[in-house]
Amino acid sequence: MNEAAWLTIAFVLMLLAMSWFALSLKSHWKQVTDGKPASRILRSLGWFCVMLSGLACLQADHASMAVLVWAMLSATAAFIVGQVLSYRPTLLRPLALFRA
């Protein structure tokens, strides 16, 4: 698979990770759906995706470059998820799995 594909996968995984981190917080879960989040599961899922995203970065680039892409992706993805929660929180509803 080529570099662009791996980077796209890394970005999507990071967006998923940040979404689940956000959903693990009660206040954001409430913006998206009712009930309470299973915080621990969602957070673990988030970390799992962060790791996978890092692996995808390593597939695309030399390790030293991959680290930078990974860190910058996390910043970009966190900002995007923050904006989605403010403007269109319901977009995250499909990810609101694992109710407590």
């Binding site: 662009a4 956000a22 206040s27 954001h28 910043a75 970009t76």
Partner: protein, 570 residues
């Protein structure tokens, strides 16, 4: 100063350091973000150079002829020659008769044009140990060897880029030191900012834009600061690292000059590279053959690559040597894997050994900031990081004003009014100045003598005007209302962005349909698209500000009604 808690002390530190140095940091972040694409902005500003990046051309067939044409810079000659020349030893050599001692050429994977320079020896030096040179630089089209006119300013790499680390204030390196201080206190502001932020993880994704203006601004400040915290930290930190010797140990050319020279000599001896000229003329061997050998050796080390930097020392002398460095486009660390050749025989004198762990960490840290690598996606992520930094600083200013303007209005203080006017100037004024410079670049005919100088004047004047405008319109802030200059200048950004794109189209014929579809040239298309994106964001912001002002005036009208109602009761 007495504080009840550490947090209160940290808040004080964050507020005041942030306010004072924020104005400088805003320049660093914004023009730093533009510098990610400095070469591309150069292409936009100098249409003659809109062609594809080229590898280093043949030295023997092309570069040598160009080097021989380079003349010592007249201004530098007039300024420095009397200092370097020993009048008791003989007549001062006329400028055009100075003998060349050193040649260099530098290119990257993003450069269609090639930068070259020569260092000229002073025949009767006042300081025989000093190896002082009078320099001459040129930029050529590497396909033909033709010079790119000197009066064309490379707005990206020679204006925006140095602006972000020197503010282009070169007098006694004042700008460098101001940026150095700001960079250091940026680290302090980050640490104190994290300290005073109560819910750094719980509110990482929180932007309550429907709450009060003050609340939503603070949310945005926190979010843009925290999500990109590693970026903010590492860019301030590596920026300091790059200049560390200059900021903190600026003594190698003053107090420690003798030690510094001795060290250089020992290093040269250890490396086996001649430190001095032999004084005996000799013909130069083929440099192309040396380049071929260097490439072969890199390939054998499993790091095949192009030449990025090439330097010939002691030109035309028996002790001449040529240093060839690899372009570091495939990795973060700036290394170069230099290979040095005897200039007369063409033999390899030395291969730079692999760097130690400490050196490698330094190479990586400097490399991640200077980004010589070829990675377009990461470049854009860096731009996003830089703009998040700008948003963080801008919202910091706004929060400062929002928090205090009611109090100041009651007390009759002008404090928040002044801060607000400076904030307008640094946030919107800076963007206007940058775009105005680009527009001026497209309107001033290419043949105009001193074109680059006029562009610089446009940049500073427009920025000064934006301050006058912001100050003139600032009166409402002292009454706890908002400065209409915010909206007016944002509107101007929206307009100027479009004007710049149209000016590029009219003056060069390069419109977006051509640069994206029919004859793709992404450097120019990218600058045009970014200008249009800037316009769009500005337009949306204006709309938002109008909506906010409306609700605010409705609320105020409502309050007045209540107030009049109350007086009617009385």
């Amino acid at each position: 100063m007495q504080f009840n808690s550490t947090r209160q002390g940290m808040a004080w530190l964050h507020t005041w350091l942030g306010l004072i140095l924020g104005f400088v940091l805003m320049v660093c972040f914004f023009f730093g973000a533009l510098s990610v694409f400095d070469r591309e902005i150069d292409r936009w500003a100098i249409p003659e150079t809109r062609f594809d990046p080229q590898p280093m051309p043949s030295f023997d067939n092309l570069l040598m002829g160009v080097f021989e044409r380079i003349e010592p810079d007249e201004a530098e000659y007039n300024r420095m020659m009397p200092k370097y020349h020993d009048a008791s030893a003989g007549e001062m050599t006329p400028r055009l008769e100075l003998p060349a001692d050193e040649y260099w050429a530098y290119t990257t994977h993003r450069d269609p044009v090639l930068r070259m320079g020569a260092g000229f020896r002073v025949p009767f030096p006042a300081d025989t140990e000093g190896h002082n040179h009078i320099h001459g630089n040129t930029t050529i089209d590497p396909r033909t060897g033709a010079s790119v006119p000197d009066h064309h300013l490379k707005i990206g790499s020679e204006w925006f880029y140095p602006l972000h680390y020197s503010l282009n204030i070169n007098w006694n390196f004042l700008g460098f030191f101001i940026v150095g201080i700001a960079g250091f206190f940026m680290l302090v502001a980050l640490i104190s900012g994290v300290w005073i932020h109560r819910k750094i993880f719980r509110e990482l994704f929180t932007f309550r834009r429907h709450k009060s203006k003050q609340r939503s601004i603070l949310d945005m400040h926190n979010m843009t600061g925290v999500v990109a915290l590693p970026f903010h930290f590492f860019f301030a930190f590596t920026g300091l690292i790059i200049f560390v010797a200059f900021y903190y140990m600026p003594v190698t050319n003053t107090m420690l000059e003798p030690l510094h020279s001795a060290q250089q000599e020992i290093e040269a001896q250890e490396m086996g590279l001649p430190h001095e000229r032999a004084g005996i003329a000799a013909p130069m061997a083929s440099v192309d053959a040396m380049v071929a050998e260097a490439k072969r050796r890199w390939a054998a080390r499993d790091m095949a690559g192009e030449v990025g930097f090439l330097q010939m020392h002691h030109v035309g002398d028996r002790n001449a040597y040529v240093s060839i460095y690899r372009a570091g486009s495939d990795r973060v660390a700036l290394v170069g894997e230099g290979i040095h050749f005897n200039g007369v025989t063409g033999e390899v004198l030395r291969e730079d050994p692999p760097h130690s762990l400490a050196e490698s960490i330094g190479d990586f840290l400097a490399g991640l900031h200077l980004q010589h690598f070829e990675h377009w996606f990461l470049r854009w992520l860096y731009v996003i990081g830089g703009l998040l930094g700008c948003a963080c600083i801008a919202t910091g200013f706004m929060f400062f004003v929002e928090k205090r303007k009611q109090q100041h209005a009651k007390a009759g203080s002008q404090g928040s009014r002044v801060v607000d006017a400076f904030a307008v100037t640094t946030v919107t004024g800076m963007v206007i100045a940058a775009i105005a410079m680009l527009i001026a670049n497209r309107f001033i005919p290419a043949a105009t003598e001193g074109k680059g100088e006029i562009e610089k004047i446009v940049f500073w004047s427009v920025w000064a005007l934006s301050f006058l405008h912001a100050a003139w319109r600032s009166a409402p802030v002292a009454l706890a209302k908002s400065n209409p200059a915010w909206k007016e200048q944002t509107m101007l950004i929206a307009l100027l962005g479009v004007v710049a794109v149209i000016a590029n189209w009219i003056s060069t014929g390069d419109h977006l349909i051509k640069t994206i579809f029919t004859d793709p040239y992404w450097a120019v298309a990218g600058v045009d698209l970014s200008l249009l994106a800037g316009s769009l964001i500005a337009l949306l912001t204006v709309k938002k500000m109008s909506a906010m002002n409306e609700t605010q005036s409705k609320q105020e009208a409502g309050q007045e009604e209540i107030a009049t109602g109350e007086t009617a009761y009385e």
